[in-house]
Symmetry: C2
Subunit: 260 residues, 2 copies
Amino acid sequence: MKIKEIVMIGSGNLATNLALALYESHKTIVCVYSRTLENAKTLAERCDCRYTNRLEEIPKTADLYIIAVNDSSIKEISEGLSNLNGIIVHTSGTIPITVFSDQINNHGVFYPLMTFSKYKKVNFTDIPICLEANSVRAIIALHKLANTISNNALEISSERRKMLHLAAVFACNFTNLNYSISDDILQKNQLSFHLLKPLIIEMTRNTFLRKPAENQTGPAFREDIETLQTQNELLKSFPEYLEMYNLLSKLIISTKHKND
Amino acid sequence: MKIKEIVMIGSGNLATNLALALYESHKTIVCVYSRTLENAKTLAERCDCRYTNRLEEIPKTADLYIIAVNDSSIKEISEGLSNLNGIIVHTSGTIPITVFSDQINNHGVFYPLMTFSKYKKVNFTDIPICLEANSVRAIIALHKLANTISNNALEISSERRKMLHLAAVFACNFTNLNYSISDDILQKNQLSFHLLKPLIIEMTRNTFLRKPAENQTGPAFREDIETLQTQNELLKSFPEYLEMYNLLSKLIISTKHKND
């Protein structure tokens, strides 16, 4: 089972980044599908291949079909892809492998643990690619393919992949919310978010040197009630962040005492 | 007004890092004070100077007294330092300059915007040092001193410094809490926190390329209700994080629609 020809189903940030990484690793993308023909065309032109917005026009003889669409559309699309011999995978962190009907002979998951934007092409070299498949032959083929774009492919069950995705929501999406709130507070006080850059770089570096819990600092961690009160006062100008401030401060304090 | 001789009051992470940075920039630390004599001694030995745990033994003729102690002790210590000609500063983000009595001729603030740990010596080169003083002569002297250890000294009022500190709590302390929760979730599922490293590095880089709000991704941002529900289910194993998960998801959604 060798993966030579690939169909990309989807044209969003993940689909685009993954298709380009495969294309640049000399894999052949034979077709891009998107509900919106214009989007399919844009990606297809970058991968030098055909495109369509009709599921029934997707070639039947490809070796791999990558469904990189919204979680809620995976089931429907996979049911529209019948009578194929190639492997069908989705790229979701949360949807289990059981989303695929047993009628699909070879199916699996190809989940790159990364945040993708429309602004920037991502380098896949270090990205963990979480693999799962319904057969040994399929998992071997997926491993081989993942290794052409990343040094960090690993097999992981649907249950643990879900947990990994949940952890990524805290580490990436919620962290980005913190940065965005910081930026808002600073901007409204005519201060630049870039003043925080050395602090953020240092904290991020420390995160990988020791356990994050060992790096915790700040007024909540010191249980400095006066500063917590002063900052509650300051948040009168930002009432939308007050509940979060107090909840996270409480969590920092209780985490500190967890092992008391 | 030239700062040659410096007294360091305090021996915690900030005091230690700042004293060493000044010492290594060929400034003379003449004395380290700490309530705990042993801690004063440890730092004094690294700065090649005297030490004491009695305020009245602090030399009266130094050019600068840096009070780098808990916020709640600044007032009391400054009141114990009377009849000095040198400048007295504190290093707090939140305490206003008015903590100092007018009887102290020259006073101000010397606040390095950074997280300091006992594990690691910090390089001050890029650290913003927020300065404030009650006289032009003092602010000029503090600027000159700050420039010997950092390229990033700036004058900033007590009011805006408080806001900067508040923004830093979100960007550093709360972000670290997120990493710590991620680590907890992963560890309990026999997964390594280092799997998230490429994701965290990418997200952190993006934060400084565009406005953080423009980088927001994830299930809440996509308003992917099914994934939010699935992750609520998963958090039954981590009930202490459920309220935070839902509050931050709600904030991501409301921030997205702020400018609708």
